[in-house]
């Protein structure tokens, strides 16, 4: 299991033990944390699984591909350099202890 910290839209910090075989979107959703909508079920078609990842995670992850970049422009909260679609990030690729912040809204 990978230990992550998720900062909820309400600003609470939640510890999550994430299964490395899932996506970050599934890990947050399955931990029962509100703030991910994931309308398209992880197919990079809805931009409602937007998250901000910390610098350690940014350094460890492959950068977003062209499609993910394009989708992020249409997220409800404006994307930054830290933005990812959580459905396109595998927990296995995240560093232990990574901090993931949820935007105020996904819709």
């Amino acid at each position: 299991m990978t230990k992550l910290t998720v900062i909820t839209p309400a600003g609470e910090s939640r510890a999550v033990e994430a299964d490395p075989s899932t996506s970050l979107m599934e890990a947050i959703r399955d931990a029962g944390i509100d703030g991910i909508v994931a309308e398209c079920g992880g197919t990079a078609a809805c931009a409602t699984c937007h998250v901000f990842v910390d610098e350690a995670a940014q350094a460890a992850l492959e950068p977003a591909d062209e499609h993910e970049e394009g989708m992020l422009e249409f997220a409800a909260v404006e994307a930054t350099a830290a933005s990812r679609l959580s459905c396109q990030v595998r927990v296995a690729d995240l560093p232990e202890g990574a901090v993931v912040t949820l935007p105020d809204t996904q819709l």
Binding site: V37, E39, C40, G41, G42, T43, A44, A45, C46, A47, T48, H67, G70, M71, E73, F74, T105, L107
Partner: protein
Amino acid sequence: MPRPLPVIDDVSLAEMYDDPYPIYARLRQEAPVAWLAPANIALITRFDDMIAIERDDETFPANDPRSLQIRSMGHSLMRRDGAEHASERAVLVKSFSPPMVKSHWSPLFREIADELVGDIAPRGQGDLFTDFAAPMAARALAQIIGIPETDWRDLLWWSQALIDATGNYADLPEPWERCARASEGIDAAIDHHAALWAKAPNPSALSAMVAAGWPIERIRADIKVIIGGGLNEPRDSIGTVLLGLLSDAAQLEAVKADPALGRKAFEEAVRWVAPIGMYPRRVARETVLSDTVLPAGTAIGLSAASACRDESHFGESAGRFDMNRPKAQHLAFGSGPHFCLGTWMARSMVGDIAVPALLDALPELRLDPQNPPRMGGWVFRGPLSLPAIWSPK
């Protein structure tokens, strides 16, 4: 103990066509998972059950060998599951992606909308459904699919023929015959245009399929499913947004004053009256949903229309068109891997362009008080007519 599937045999499909919403309200309360005898399916009417189903395509696959859609259109991606579905869909994603919509398709939608509005403005009256919504959706679809030389009126009847065959549960001969004629026309349009795009690719869906080297059977089936699913929905949603706004002066004035609100009005309109009211899945292994047993093999219908009015998500005002309600996920585009491919296309075409263009160009546009609008349908639902008057210009 979970209960066996309750049977609902005291409603008729004619009643459902007329106005399914009171029936859905009753089912959500009393029998959210129920065998709807006149349609021969188990109908799922609660929001949370629909989400659970779309998250589990092993228990609830989209593929069903009995599917009338497969019989009428061929086996398209809409009836495939898992990795096979994902790789097929991936070929089409770029054509329908929001950046492509913004850079390539929106300018085209704007041209079509301006031309149509220019045509009807001097008339002072007309049916916004047949004179505006239908040609808007059909002309845009011919471009998106990649068969631009096709007459939009052909596209309109082809789409209806495919849909009627897909819903031909009574197995009448006439819908099958009409579907066969439509298929001939569609296959000819595909052959003609596929040869063009093989030499000169473009952002259309057909061009993407040709570039991916798909076998012709797959191209035909997927183009047909896009024709069947890509015409009614934008057309009906244009009509529904207009109906919602023209029935509520405050919301109408708000969108006129700020056309950017068109998108909000669109999103609320499809929640209010989901254009695809119901779509099928199959139960692959016995399971329990809302405390009701669903035996393996059961054909189920997911009522997006009902889920979009589920009180537990949208409160007691769920039946009202109110674009100012708190933002919340709705299920008009479905959810999960089959989430509507045309979502971003429709948001732009209907919400950003067609509706604001019409409101801007027709001063004092209002519903015709002599001729009330008509709505119909439960599998697909939308306006049947939308008579309106305005000051000619």
